[in-house]
């Protein structure tokens, strides 16, 4: 039997209550063991505007929010006007016909106009349309009413029996309306018998931090990174994590540095604008050789940009963050569950190499939602703190004084935690000698400066072998190799499946996660065999393409780029591959959905 692949969208204005039905649907899906991918297109507005939540579910892993919609719930006329013309035959559109008029639906689209006045005559307020529509949708996909009844009962329990009764009654009316008036979808939502979980990328990053042993988290609120702060704040007391909201991002990174130097694993998250303010601090962390992890959840820039829209536009900012050369690690997780796994791994690296680590997420990952098998959420991660004197009580004997920045082959000198007897030293953002004494002012010495600079920078050499090299996904011998980085992994894979199934084009994928240091040799050895290399990225200038060329000399055959604020949909990449195979050098898809 063919697998179910169901997409439901809910659209309306901010404040119309889209999140709750979305959450209920997501929970119903994952509790049946179905996979989920959800993306919420929204605007920087608290009330009004247009919010469009897409939820897609299947027995198979869901790689992106997809190309098509089976069901649209339009909560206002604006949603109807924006999306009805995109609905394909076989799909259904639910709306309150008392207030919303459909215009221009394609033949074969089932228009499910229900009357709130008739179905819920005694209930006041507009939110009731959400409950009716949700119940009707569940009927259309063959979900038993009892499941919704239980969820509503739990949700409204604390408001009293009357409220429970009213909501369940309204839902029942919607469910019965669908049963008697509507044609059900040709699917019955399966139940695999196994339960999955689901989370947002920001939750995954925060939980990864908790697993890694983060004891200090600080941030300044900034979309789309605030979800990390919210999770951390909610769990701070349970998990013994100090969470601080700081006056600005300059304060954030420096506070994290202070906590990290004193011995905590310290993390912070922001978006591009806040990251810009942090850059001098990141250089300071590297220079004082203090490990911190900073997450940049990219949004469409520059400046305030488009605060609620996605982009992969900060790669160069991360690579060039701050003045001068300094060792740093930059990683872009490729899926939402990968966000969880990346954080502990990065902490072990930055602790070992005493340098800052930067995670490049983006709005698509951080505010997107994904199902995850609970067994994948392994909190029993290995925690490696590197060489830290004073952390475990015992201190090694001092032979002629402690040299915080001792020059050695690895470039990593044991650090001593403040409070440890006998190891008093100064860490400085001025360049310094092995003992921490400044060589920037009175004692300037070019030879020492050179030696210290080389000591710091050579730490990078030992990092690369510890990072997983990117692996080719798909058939070895393909017509096209699609190269992406970070969050585009899923959508590129789905495009590859579509290319094979619908266009007869064999493509494979090389997705890059660890960006600095870069596995240049491994990438070259893969891409020299590629018949056509196309780089896919969510920015204007091809930041990764330029970086790849500078590191490896590889010049891609074609580029698929998108910088309208919305993420790629699979067909955008399919169209791009076809255009490039037909001779185009660069393809920029036009986003069809006005969100």
């Amino acid at each position: 039997m063919a697998k179910v692949d169901l997409s439901i969208a809910i659209g309306g204005a901010a404040g119309q209550g889209i999140a709750t039905p979305g959450d209920i649907l997501a929970r119903i899906f994952v509790r049946r063991g179905l996979h989920l991918n959800a993306y919420n297109a929204y605007q920087s507005i608290v009330r009004g505007g247009h919010i469009f939540l897409t939820l897609r579910t299947s027995e198979a892993p869901v790689l992106s929010f997809g190309d098509k919609l089976d069901v649209l719930i339009a909560l206002n006329q604006d949603t109807m006007n924006r999306h009805l013309n995109l609905m394909k035959p076989g799909s259904s559109v639910l709306f309150n016909k008392d207030k919303i008029k459909p215009d221009g639906a394609a033949t074969g689209v089932q228009l499910c106009g229900f009357s709130v006045k008739e179905l819920a005559p005694s209930v006041r307020g507009d939110l009731v349309q959400n409950t009716i529509a949700l119940a009707a949708v569940l009927r259309l996909i063959g979900v038993d009413f009892k499941i919704l009844e239980d969820i509503l009962t739990l949700q409204f329990k604390r408001k009293g029996d009357a409220v429970v009764k009213e909501n369940v009654g309204v839902a029942r009316a919607g469910y019965d309306y669908a049963a008697s008036q509507l044609k059900a979808l040709p699917i019955t939502l399966p139940d695999t018998g196994k339960k999955l979980a689901f989370f947002e990328g920001n939750q995954a990053l925060a939980m990864g931090g908790a697993a890694a042993g983060v004891r200090f988290y600080c941030a300044y609120p900034m979309s789309p990174s605030s979800g990390v702060l919210h999770w951390m704040a909610r769990h701070a007391r349970q998990l013994d994590i100090m969470v601080r909201q700081v006056e600005d991002e300059i304060g954030v990174i420096n506070m994290a540095i202070g906590a990290a130097h004193a011995g905590c694993r310290a993390m912070c998250a922001t978006s591009g604008g806040g990251f810009a303010l942090m850059t001098e601090g990141l250089g300071a962390a590297a220079f004082m050789e203090i490990p911190v992890v900073c997450i940049n959840v990219q949004r469409a820039g520059p400046a305030t940009g488009v605060p609620t829209k996605t982009e992969q536009g900060d790669l160069w900012q991360a690579m060039g963050a701050g003045q001068g050369d300094y060792p740093r690690i930059i990683v872009a997780p490729t899926t939402i569950p990968d966000c969880f796994k990346t954080v502990p791994k990065l902490f072990n690296l930055v602790d070992k190499f005493q340098c800052p680590g930067i995670i490049l997420s983006d709005l698509l990952l951080s505010e997107g939602r994904s199902s995850v098998d609970p067994v994948e959420l392994d909190f029993k991660v290995s925690i490696e703190r590197g060489e830290v004197i004073g952390l475990n009580g015992a201190t090694p004997p001092l032979n002629g004084g402690y040299k915080r920045y001792e020059i050695n082959d690895s470039g990593v000198s044991p650090r001593a935690l403040p409070g440890t007897l006998g190891y008093e030293h100064v860490v400085a953002t001025d360049d310094h000698d092995e003992d921490g004494v400044l060589i920037s002012d009175e004692y300037t010495n070019p030879h020492k400066r050179q030696a210290m600079h080389e000591k710091r920078m050579r730490k990078m050499e030992a990092i690369l072998p510890l990072l997983d090299a990117p692996k080719l996904w798909g058939a070895g011998d393909a017509q096209v190799t699609l190269v992406g980085w970070g969050s585009t992994e899923g959508v590129v894979q789905e495009a590859i499946q579509k290319l094979a199934a619908e266009e007869g084009i064999a493509a494979n994928q090389l997705q890059i996660k660890w960006l600095v240091p870069l596995h240049g040799e491994a990438i070259v050895s893969t891409l020299v065999k590629s018949r056509k290399t196309i780089i896919v990225e969510n920015n204007y200038s091809g930041q990764f393409a330029r970086y790849l060329r500078s590191e490896t000399g590889i010049v891609a055959d074609g580029h698929i780029r998108k910088y309208d604020g919305e993420p790629f949909m699979p067909h955008h990449i399919v169209d791009g591959v076809k255009a490039i195979l037909a001779g185009k050098k660069q393809y920029v898809p036009v986003h069809e959905i006005m969100v």
Binding site: E247, M255, A262, G393, E424, V427
Partner: protein, 309 residues
Amino acid sequence: MSLTTGEIETKSSVPPRTKLPLTIKDFKGKAEPDWCPGCGDFGVLTAIKQALVELGVPPHQAMVISGIGCSSNLPGYISTYGMHTLHGRALSVATGAQMANHELKIIVTGGDGDGYGIGGNHFVHSMRRNVDLTYIVMNNQIYGLTTGQLSPTSAKGMKTKSTPAGSVENPINPIPLAIAAGATYVARGYTGQVKHLVELIKGGIQHRGFALIDAFSPCVTFNLENTHDFFKQRTFKLEDKKHDPTDFAAAMKYGYEWDDEIAIGLFWKRDDLPALDQLEPVLDEGGPLARRRLGIAPDVAQSLIRELM
């Protein structure tokens, strides 16, 4: 609580094994100060060392954190733990360090440009948070290290390299600002009176909360107006006026006095407000955060996962 990984056996604090009693030599730094001969900052360095000796704080239990500027070189000249951070950011770093290890005695040092200028935002917010640290600002009313430009505390009309015709801006007055922003110990010293300064610093270190000590520290090279002579003629001690540091109105009145008579001493002190670390439930028990075991217990991990199902 059982632990999954990363088990680290730690003691909540290392008992001091330093030879007692401490002497000022125990705090001698690795480098000699490179300040100009006659710089007021020498007085602050001496006063901090003396205060630590008199309070019996051993070198490893103190951390001196600075920003950038002539005076911010101070951590290199004293043997404690030290951080010489970015320009204007010392208070942020210090707040993080204090939260991570609230058993350390944290002293932040810097200049007026560093603290009241580029670090002004952190200055205000650190005070309202009442972070338990002692902040000593070596106030010379000029940018010295950059060779003599206007500072936030330079007097109106002052001629500097960046204001050759005289400044038209009003200066910051750190004393009323600190009182208004929520600092719970606000004092002013003068490096020409080191003994007095030692007492103010001792009081600041012993105070549980944010202590500001603005210290007149004349720049002998670039500020030829606010000189030792200038301060010697004008300063008087608040103690001599029987000032009550719990009297808000009097503290503000003395804080605003400038022209002919300039007060030094303790303007403002209140002990009824807990410091930030005392308000943090995470620090209620278990010792410094920095020394706690890492890892999530399996039952806690399960509860976190259940939230997602």
